[in-house]
Amino acid sequence: MTDLLSVHNLVKRYKQLTAVDGVSFSVAKGQCFGLLGPNGAGKTTTIEMMEGISKPTSGEVRLFGEPASRKAFERVGIQFQNTALQDYLTVAETLALFAAFYTKTIDREELIGLCSLGDFLNRDARKLSGGQRQRLLLALALINDPDLVFLDEPTTGLDPQSRRNFWELVQAIKHRGKTIVLTTHYMDEAETLCDDIAIMDQGRIVERGSPAQLLERHFDGVMVNLPATAVEGKVLPFEMLANRDRVEIQTTAVDAIVRQLAEAQVPLTGLQVKSPNLEDLFLKLTGHALRA
């Protein structure tokens, strides 16, 4: 039994809207599982059902091999997408408050060191910067030394430096053998942190696998891209994907593509060739740029 967490046919309906529409997957012990998807895809809804915060309309969640129950909270750590903390408490007091809820807790000094909270322990929790706050919230998620950690968009709104620091932190947690479930919009984040990824769109999982597997499955070769204005009105014999003001062509034969473009008298200034990443895959699968 290595599946720490599994969900089966999870559905959540809000009146007319089906926010999560039959989602199934499982996460093995020690893995970092990434739930990716555009705004409104149903990531938060899914993760909150796993956390036991909201009730599924139908379907099953199993934690540690048992149907999810409040008892499992002792072994789970949660960081919400949006959370307020109790007013007028300092960082240290907030840590003490949450520590009191659990029978087993992580060593306080160790936690403070791990999340680098030392510099602002006595500051009012409301006065923290975005990055400091996020580290405190992560510390709260880790306070019971959980086996399973849920992180809902932990780095949204952080500057690149803070994001990188946060990633290191998550890596450190992973090295302690924790299982992590993470949602994010950032493909580089998923690529760096996740062993296993599910891409969600409109309440369904549209793709599943490790970052390398996904790229291999969907992309052969490289991406050629051009300014959209360059190909305007041209009829070309290959598929093009719009991405903001550029178009992308996926190919194994760059030479042939370039030749065809030249024959169609497409100006080649601004042409770029790069290997595809998860971002390209995301756009391809969720058609986000096209739909917008």
Binding site: E51, G52, S54, F73, N82
Partner: protein
Amino acid sequence: MMSRLLAVFNARNKEFWRDRSSLAWNFAFPFLLVFGFYFIFGQGMPMFKVGVIGEQDAYISRPAFMQLSHIQFVPYDELETALNRARRHQIDLVLDLDRQLYWVNEESRNGYVAERLLVNADPDFNRRVVQGEPIRYVDWVLPGIIGMNIMFSSLFGVGYAIVRYRKNGVLKRLKATPLSAFEFVSAQILSRLLTVMLVASIIYFGSHWALSTLMLGNPFSLLLTLFVGALAMISLGLAVASRSRSEELTGGLMNMATWPMMGLSQVWFSLEGAPPTVQSIANALPLTHLVSAAREITTEGATLMQVSDHLLVLAGMTALFLTIAALLFNWDSDHR
């Protein structure tokens, strides 16, 4: 400049008109208040108040005195209750119709005039005398002020805090820990109880010490009474806040609970002689019982036994409100 001002003016107006709960409140409330006071005091204040014993027995000929205008006749079952009121100048005369007796407080100016009127109209009534200083308004009103303070502090302190926690996600974060709703709510109750009791004691005993306000009863009886009352108020706050995540709605509900109590629970003025319907509404309000019990203890020296009916009502209300709160309580209602 004008157009910007107008834009904000318009936006604010829309906000006001579209916020149904507060809109209803802004209009309904003043009307309710006006109608309420009209109902209670519409007949105008009488010039004299006379307590009557034995009114119930159907009188073939009521004494001529009782036909006079501008005198309010308040029936009493117990002579002693009526006499106590007369001693404190709260009523001007006491009549016993069966025995053809009347009591007057010789230190009361109103009593003197009312007595002249009575003797003129019905010379056969026999005179009895009671004595006593008038109760000062400050002594009378102090339990009301303490009660009101307990009410506001409990209702808003517990109710608003919980709604705010629910709205901004603090409750949701707590729900994700092993903390149970029972533990959370109990902690809120205890914390507020401590604060409320502390403040109430300071006001009470502080003014007793500084202004030598009346304290005829046992201070511990008073503390117990305030405690029971605070518990009822806090429970009411919990019930009101058990589900809602809208501060406006909760605010409306709180106002709906507090204003009738401000008006009808005899915080500022006595309802003696008000229509029976008004009195029975007042008796359904926890503040009425809290204030009455506290007032009987401080101004009449009542014992716990003598105020036990009020305390029982408060305990019953506490149980009722807590049950409602427990049934309805929700960490995080499922709509955003």
